[in-house]
């Protein structure tokens, strides 16, 4: 087996991984960094983020505003010490990106412009048209080329973590092109592997968003936190789930039902006027908007499309010039993928799974496994609580990507050099298990299990949940895990570029992550943020559940669920409300 030795392995070449790698290189140019990604970095899913990234720069805004919007947006399940650190570091990281060339949209005087987003008191979202993630990712990727310490391993699929003496010692990866298995021996490992939206059938996520990092850490004893909180984005194309950015509404777009009625006023987001008004109507948070869609659907107020029911996202009143300047990507996507021109017609949209608020439990990116760090969507550092505010995740990846890089660098300097026979032995055993999957030709197709998993999660752990529905999902996922263990039959047994093999390994991660989500949801007997129940637990219960859930891996059985207090510093839980009276906003 080929062995590559380095100081730090960064798993994932998206915004988190690239920012972390740069932070390591800048903090200590002597450290050797392996940036290991299953795709070439610029293919990472950061690329598809549209709307923008939050950072307080307006005179009428404040860090307290950002803090309070985030904490109330998260229904008080945020760790407030982490939120405080976060809001204090957003702007410097956004400026850093600007210094690296990121083409943020500007005002006429050459200063950065900001737009509204849901759940925000004032305009706070830095944007690069509606390709913010694309520009952030390419800026970071191109900038990373400057640093000779960063050695890229593009299209290396990380399939296992290697631990010894209770600390991380490296990762095992498959070189995609050849199928060769490679051991990266390292002193520290950073996970920047993104979310797990693909465990659901209809989602906004790229095909690569399969929860690999969560699964890797979970299997090796790191606990997954707050996994029941899965965000449905309210405005996605039916069928494909392709995202129509929240920036549409941030720029003044409206949502109407089949009768042309702005239905959000019926769901504690009104009154309608004055419009636009922060934190009201279409500028409400994602959980509330997705829930409102569900009710409209139940009432028969949506309309049918060949790919599911929908409501209208109407941008027409913004005018062609503004639509093309501010929202070019979604305009093109609506034209090509939905056959609708937003300049002349409303876009049919419905909610789809978008984001995993939970992830690998990490205290300022340090996980429970010494030497293992996690940041970005795969992690739960505690800033999103029960519902993430739009435009907080694109800043999260750079703020905490940098923290992960600096902490991993510092940790790596404290760990002695040296390889170990035990590490090699473990790597050989893990490689044998991977090769056994490759050789298997008896059992079910990977797509069969994948689709059944997606449907089970959609049905049982969706926008609204009930005990019986979640129990059914838990049972179904357990059954799918048993069928997975019984064997996935591959058509392709070759080593080179075997994506069927890789997909099978990904499915293993996804099933375990899905199980953690379903059980965490089943056990949370209250409603909070994106976790809302139709049964007797339809309200928030701070006495019992102002707590993070933690899912512990138990092998073949279901996860063990436990709880941990939420860190509260200055914002005591109160009723989370949107809408109501307010001043009309001036759009910038």
């Amino acid at each position: 087996m080929q062995v590559i030795t380095c100081d730090v392995v960064v798993v994932g070449g998206g915004g988190t991984g690239l920012r972390a790698a740069i932070a390591i290189a800048e903090s200590d140019p002597k450290l050797t960094i392996a940036l290991v990604s299953k795709v070439v970095p610029m293919r990472s899913h950061t690329v598809a983020a549209e709307g923008g990234a939050a950072g307080v720069i307006r005179g009428d805004d404040s860090l307290d505003n950002h803090f309070n919007d985030t904490v109330s947006g998260g229904d008080w399940l945020c760790d407030q010490d982490a939120v405080q650190y976060f809001v204090e570091h957003c702007v410097e990281e956004l400026v850093q990106l600007e210094h690296w060339g990121c083409p943020w949209s500007r005002k006429d005087d050459g200063n950065i412009n900001v737009r509204f987003f849901g759940g925000m008191t004032v305009q706070r979202t830095w944007f690069a048209a509606d390709k913010s993630g694309f520009h952030i990712l390419h800026t970071l990727f191109q900038t990373s080329i400057k640093y000779p310490g960063i050695q890229r391993y593009d299209e290396y699929f990380v399939a296992d973590l290697i631990l010894e003496d209770g600390r991380v010692r490296g990762v095992l990866a498959i070189e995609v092109a050849t199928g060769e298995i490679v051991l990266f021996e390292a002193k520290a490992v950073i996970l920047g592997t993104g979310g797990a939206g693909r465990v659901y059938r209809q989602n906004t996520n790229a095909g690569i968003v399969t929860g690999d990092g969560m699964g890797l850490a979970y299997r090796h004893g790191a606990r997954l936190r707050d996994m029941e909180f899965v965000q449905y984005h309210p405005t996605c194309l039916p069928g494909s789930g392709i995202l129509m950015t929240e920036g549409c509404r941030g720029e003044g777009g409206i949502l109407t039902n089949k009768d042309g009625y702005r239905y959000l006023q019926d769901y504690a987001l009104g009154p309608l006027d004055p419009w636009p008004r922060p934190k009201a109507m279409e500028l409400g948070p994602r959980d509330r908007l997705s829930q409102a869609f569900w009710h409209e659907d139940q009432k028969g107020n949506t309309f049918k499309t060949p790919l599911g029911t929908a409501v209208n996202l109407d941008l027409r009143h913004l005018g062609e010039k503004k639509i093309l300047e501010r929202l070019p990507l979604i305009t093109e996507a609506a034209r090509v993928f939905a056959g609708v021109d937003p300049v002349t017609d409303p876009i049919p949209v419905r909610p789809a799974v978008h984001y995993t608020m939970g992830g690998v439990y990490a205290n300022m990116t340090e996980t429970e496994v010494p030497g293992l760090f996690a940041a970005g969507e795969c992690s739960s550092v505690g800033i999103h609580g029960a519902n993430r505010l739009g435009s907080n995740s694109l800043v999260e990846i750079i703020v905490f990507g940098k923290v992960a890089g600096e902490r991993a660098a510092a940790y790596a300097r404290t760990v002695p050099d040296g390889s170990s026979a035990g590490v090699r032995q473990q790597a050989e055993e893990s490689a044998s298990r991977l090769l056994a999957l490759l050789k298997n030709d008896k059992g079910e197709r990977v797509a069969t299990l994948r689709d059944e998993m997606g449907d089970a999660m959609e049905t049982g752990v969706g926008i609204y949940r009930s005990a019986s529905g979640m129990k059914t999902a838990c049972d179904k996922i357990a059954e799918l895990r048993a069928r997975y263990r019984a064997g996935i039959a591959l058509d392709d047994h070759s080593r080179s570029f075997n994506t069927e093999w890789l997909t099978t390994i990904e499915l293993g991660f996804m099933l375990e992550v899905a199980e953690a989500m379903a059980h965490s949801a089943y056990n949370r007997k209250e409603s909070r943020g994106a976790h809302v129940r139709l049964d007797e637990y339809s309200t928030r219960d701070d006495d019992k559940f102002l707590q993070h859930s933690l899912a512990t891996y138990t092998g073949e059985g279901p996860p063990a669920i436990s709880y941990q207090p939420v860190t509260i510093t200055k914002s005591q839980p109160r009723t989370r409300s949107y809408g109501g009276a307010g001043k009309q906003a001036v759009m910038t």
């Binding site: 690296w100 006429d108 095909g207 069928g239 090509v336 591959l490 070759s494 994506t499």
Partner: protein
């Protein structure tokens, strides 16, 4: 049944090549059911999921922004997520890997050469001096942004390399996307890296290798217009040769 939901069947010929078998490339035909909104990518995924798990291709975002899924569709370089089976039916459709790149397996090509070229153009901001973060962002007016903005839209999908006959003939040519990116940084008001990039730009494999076919810009799914970037830089390269560019650049020429 409306046209939107009607299921039809199309035949797709896909180039197959398995490096492990040693057998030469061949075409394999698949029958794929599709509806009005089925992209070529979704057609390939149908084959992979239900008919033949050995078929190999790259994809990720399925919304034309990640740049993974470029292929030759009936001989034209296109993103498979962005191209629809309805537009080819009732005729057959042929899918090949992108032209001018070595094949790893089936439709997956080796992108190493392109990635090395990307590195060679120093695609990062080279400022006059390091600006402390505490000073905040640079000022850059929308007009200054316009100078480079279009060239920052490249998704690195490689369609332009597959389209470029010159790259096919002379693989050392730096090529459309990398040169457009070089120009993106040169044209940025915050950047002073012209001289650091001039060797690549002025060399025989730089802008002068381009013979102005312009097919790169035609196939670009993001309207980046690399042909324009390259040919604008033939002028810049000439001015540079005669020592004029240095003078002009002090008054903001090309920014």
């Amino acid at each position: 049944m409306t046209a939107e939901t009607e299921t039809r069947t199309i035949e797709i010929d896909v180039l197959r090549y398995d490096p492990d078998s040693g057998a030469p490339p061949r075409y394999q035909t698949y029958k794929v059911p599709f509806q009005h909104d089925t992209s070529v990518l979704v057609g390939l995924q149908y084959i992979k999921d239900h008919l033949d798990g050995t078929l190999t291709f790259r994809w990720s975002c399925r919304m034309a922004i990640c740049g993974s899924c470029g292929t030759m569709i009936n001989g034209i370089p296109q993103l498979s997520c962005h191209t629809f089976l309805r537009d080819y039916w009732p005729k057959k459709l042929r899918i090949d890997p992108l032209e001018h790149f070595p094949i790893i397996k089936d439709l997956a090509i080796d992108q190493t050469d392109f990635l090395n070229k990307l590195d060679s153009v120093k695609p990062y901001l080279i400022p006059k001096q390091d600006k402390p973060l505490s000073e905040g962002a640079y000022l850059q007016t929308p007009k200054q942004m316009e100078q480079y903005y279009n060239y920052s839209q490249c998704i690195n999908c490689l369609l332009c390399y597959a389209a470029c006959p010159q790259y096919g003939l002379t693989p050392t040519f730096t090529g459309p996307a990398a040169l457009a990116l070089l120009h993106r940084y040169n044209a940025d008001s915050r950047d002073v890296g012209w001289s650091a990039r001039s060797d690549v730009l002025n060399s025989e494999d730089g802008v002068w290798r381009c013979t102005l076919v312009g097919y790169c810009s035609e196939v670009c799914p993001k309207n980046v217009d690399p042909a324009h970037a390259i040919n604008q830089n033939k002028v810049n390269s000439t001015l540079d040769y005669f020592g004029v560019l240095k003078l002009l650049s002090t008054v903001g020429f090309g920014k």
